[in-house]
Symmetry: C2
Subunit: 203 residues, 2 copies
């Protein structure tokens, strides 16, 4: 049974639970309006709790983001697995990339956190990001195997493209983000001619 709000991991005292949920609600509203870098102090203020109460529930900004977005990210990963059944390996990959970018666009400034969380094992978002990356990996591998994507395209390439395009969109326009994503995806496509260009080799 899904309550709609992400549940804290264990039973909490009634007042604690109430504070936890008010903090989440205010954070969602504030991040949505002002971006993921919005002042945590101000969020606590709006939730009507003291400074330290926020840190008690969410020791870092990333922990707060994980509580807000963890489920959504796992859903994105599931969507990726489902798209493995898409009739066209490349179109399935492209459709998922667009969904992933829409996810990054949820809060302004999210891209940097999501990019760093992949490498940073101490990040509370690390596990969720890894799941998303793994879903991308499946789609990329399938497109490569089908000869639809270049043999050297990797999941980190896809992940970076999605977040970078989302970032560019934040600086200029949502349309620019879509265009950049489309160009990048087209660069992932296996060339029908045999003419390869100079791609820096893989990590």
């Amino acid at each position: 049974m899904d309550t709609g709000t992400p549940a804290p991991r264990r039973r909490m005292r009634a007042d604690a639970r109430r504070n936890y949920e008010r903090l989440l609600a205010e954070a969602a509203a504030a991040f949505g309006e002002h971006g993921a870098d919005f002042s945590l102090e101000e969020i606590a203020r709006r939730a009507g709790v003291a400074n330290g109460t926020l840190y008690g529930h969410f020791p870092t900004r990333r922990a707060l983001l994980e509580a807000l977005m963890g489920d959504r990210m796992r859903t994105l990963a599931t969507t990726g697995e489902e798209l493995l059944a898409h009739p066209s390996p490349f179109d399935g990959l492209a459709a998922w990339a667009r969904a992933a970018m829409a996810h990054t666009t949820l809060y302004r400034g999210l891209g940097a956190t999501l990019m760093q969380a992949i490498e940073d094992e101490t990040s509370e978002l690390h596990t969720a990001c890894k799941a998303v990356l793994a879903a991308g990996e499946g789609l990329v591998a399938r497109a490569r195997a089908a000869g639809a994507a270049r043999p050297d395209v990797t999941a980190p390439d896809l992940y970076a493209l999605v977040n970078a395009a989302a970032w560019a969109g934040e600086q200029s326009s949502a349309l620019q983000a879509e265009r950049l994503l489309a160009f990048g995806l087209d660069g992932f496509r296996a060339s029908t001619t045999g003419a390869d260009d100079h791609m820096p080799s893989q990590r």
Copy 2:
């Protein structure tokens, strides 16, 4: 005669000029090591001047960046014009894109400022960025006209790609930046087959 340091626009009192140059030197060092978001207060401290002295010379962070990078950006624009003589329109475009990305990589976190400066006419970096964009425009137009680039590729697309790839590199690795740029540029290439894909239409 080039003195090596960017010259302030008018004659200054000797002490003012000395402060101006110490501030520039400390800013260059600090931005180089810690990124373009480094504390201005700390830069003033390191330069041995008071807080307000920095603001007297450079009313905004962007003004400081312009003093540090304006010349470099105009040089980049010139390089772009020279590359119009490159035998291959597409390779000339690609070479310039790589040079532009190297420029963005000068200080961490520069990409956002450079992206915003294009749209923000009040930015002290606006003029310099416009010159860079115009150089890109020339190269893109030539590649389009030669049938080497897709007919719908624009200078803003190129500008966004360069900065977004540089941004991605800052979050993960320089190699990832190069790869993203290469994929994006390949997406700019006119497809040898007639098969067009769904590109969101232009601004």
